[in-house]
């Protein structure tokens, strides 16, 4: 059994919170530049140019890309042959507290959904844990903004709806979201599993890098088709009209119950924040 110090986890999570908020992914920068070349709307070009300039300023000055520094969503893959001295969940929360405080990140979490006040340190984190073979700990911090999260949805469809039903639901969700999630967006889609698991799948889909297709050619084709259809909606950058509405669409699937066909759409903004470390 490998032993890992509490402080190692705290420091790693703090650093990931800051890096995810300061540094726009190279994959996103690349696709934004391509979109700027192709964009037909003058307003759209203006917006895409601003997003690229913004990323440059954030990176150089180490300040957040967006004032909404997100809910700290953490994906934890815990090697079964590893032990963290002290509780790993509290280490993650201490890391979030440190990262958001020392990194000058906005604290956006309210302690109780109805009666609460701002917790002041952006805790608690949302932690999704998987136990995996080996003695490594893989931690991904994916800060999630509220504006795009609000444009997400789970639908319990009928098995008869099939893949066409899924496509219609995704297109309809993006159409209704319109300008609200700060397009160009990244769209995570979950298909299968149960009511709660399908939402997790859609969230997990957002951890992929732009252009990384589902390994199953069937779903890879659906991803390409949905991206084209979404970009033909005309919503455009910031919803002010244009060709660039989404930067990518990612589908994750899971076995389902014979009676159920859950589908989830998790919308992300262009920032598509996620940073990973393996300890």
């Amino acid at each position: 059994m490998r032993e890992v110090d509490y402080i190692t986890i705290v420091d790693a999570v703090a650093r990931l919170c800051m890096e995810a908020n300061y540094f726009l992914g190279d994959d996103v920068v690349k696709v934004l530049k391509q979109a700027l070349e192709k964009e037909e709307s003058e307003t759209g070009k203006d917006v895409l140019g601003q997003l690229l300039k913004n990323a440059e300023i954030a990176k150089t000055e180490k300040i957040p890309i967006c004032q909404d520094c997100g809910f700290a969503v953490v994906f934890l893959e815990m090697g079964e042959d590893t032990h963290v001295k002290g509780n790993i969940i509290s280490a993650i929360n201490d890391g979030v507290k440190k990262g958001y405080t020392e990194g000058y990140l906005r604290k956006s979490i309210v302690s109780d959904p109805v009666k609460g006040k701002n917790t002041g340190d952006n805790t608690p984190a949302i932690v999704h844990t998987t136990i995996v073979p080996g003695d490594k700990i893989k931690i991904t911090v994916a800060p999630k903004g509220g504006g795009s999260e609000n444009m997400s949805e789970v639908k319990m469809m009928k098995p008869a709806d099939g893949i066409e039903g899924v496509k219609n639901f995704v297109i309809d969700r993006v159409t209704r979201s319109s300008s609200n999630p700060c397009p160009p967006t990244v769209i995570g889609v979950g298909i299968g599993g149960t009511f709660e698991y399908v939402a997790f799948l859609a969230k997990k889909a957002l951890l992929r890098d732009i252009g990384q297709r589902n390994p199953d050619p069937f779903y890879a084709d659906v991803e390409r088709e949905l991206l084209e259809k979404i970009n033909n909606l005309g919503i455009g950058p910031m919803g002010l009209g244009g060709r660039t509405t989404a930067l990518d669409v990612f589908i994750e699937v899971h076995p389902r119950h014979i009676a159920s066909f859950p589908v989830a759409v998790n919308t992300n903004c262009h920032a598509a924040r996620h940073k990973t470390i393996t300890i």
């Binding site: 300023i57 004032q67 009209g241």
Partner: protein, 184 residues
């Protein structure tokens, strides 16, 4: 893209009526931040017949909850938040003379109608361009509801703050027009 139009706050009815959807605008002067939590408190004061912590006449309200300022900075990144959350409260503020709003995303029918009635304009700023936008903010002062943290009402001194007219005082809606134009 056409040369941006420069405007100064506070805005007159004439200033507002000259603006058309799609116009690229640079704002200079004082603007006021408020998100839905601060709006709720303002509406409670109006309902009780009490005076507001700021005079809204001719002013622009910016829907934003900035990130904290690093040492040496006047403000942290400060891009627009979703305007729709302020919609239920907006018509009452327009009736008190609010002339402009800066945010992101579509407005409700009620807000658009109130904008035509009271002659007001809605500007879209680029969501997610918060670091860039913060460079146009030169001074910051909290004027009410400090307990709301990032959601407090702040007076911002801005210089050439870049926005686009999304809804004008004549019923124009760039969200509707723009999407129609590029839909395939």
């Amino acid at each position: 893209m056409a040369e941006p139009i420069k405007i100064k706050t506070p805005l007159s009815d004439e200033d507002v009526q000259n603006l058309k959807i799609g116009d690229s605008i640079l704002i200079t002067g004082k603007i006021y931040t408020a998100r839905d939590a601060a709006h709720k408190r303002l509406i409670e004061l109006i309902e009780k017949g009490e005076s507001l912590p700021l005079d809204l006449k001719g002013q622009i309200m910016y829907y934003v909850g900035p990130a904290p300022a690093k040492p040496g900075y006047v403000i942290g990144p400060a891009g627009p938040t979703t305007s729709g959350r302020c919609d239920p409260y907006t018509p009452a503020l327009l009736a008190l003379g609010l002339k402009g709003m800066i945010g992101k995303g579509v407005r409700s029918k009620e807000v658009r109608e109130a904008m035509e009635k009271h002659k007001a304009v809605y500007f879209a700023a680029t969501g997610g361009a918060a670091a860039l936008i913060s460079k146009n903010i030169k001074a910051v002062k909290i004027i009410a509801y400090e307990d709301l943290g990032p959601e407090a009402i702040r007076e911002l001194e801005v210089e050439n703050f870049p926005v686009i007219v999304a809804n004008d005082a004549h019923g124009g809606d760039l969200y509707e027009e723009g999407i129609k134009k590029y839909r395939k």
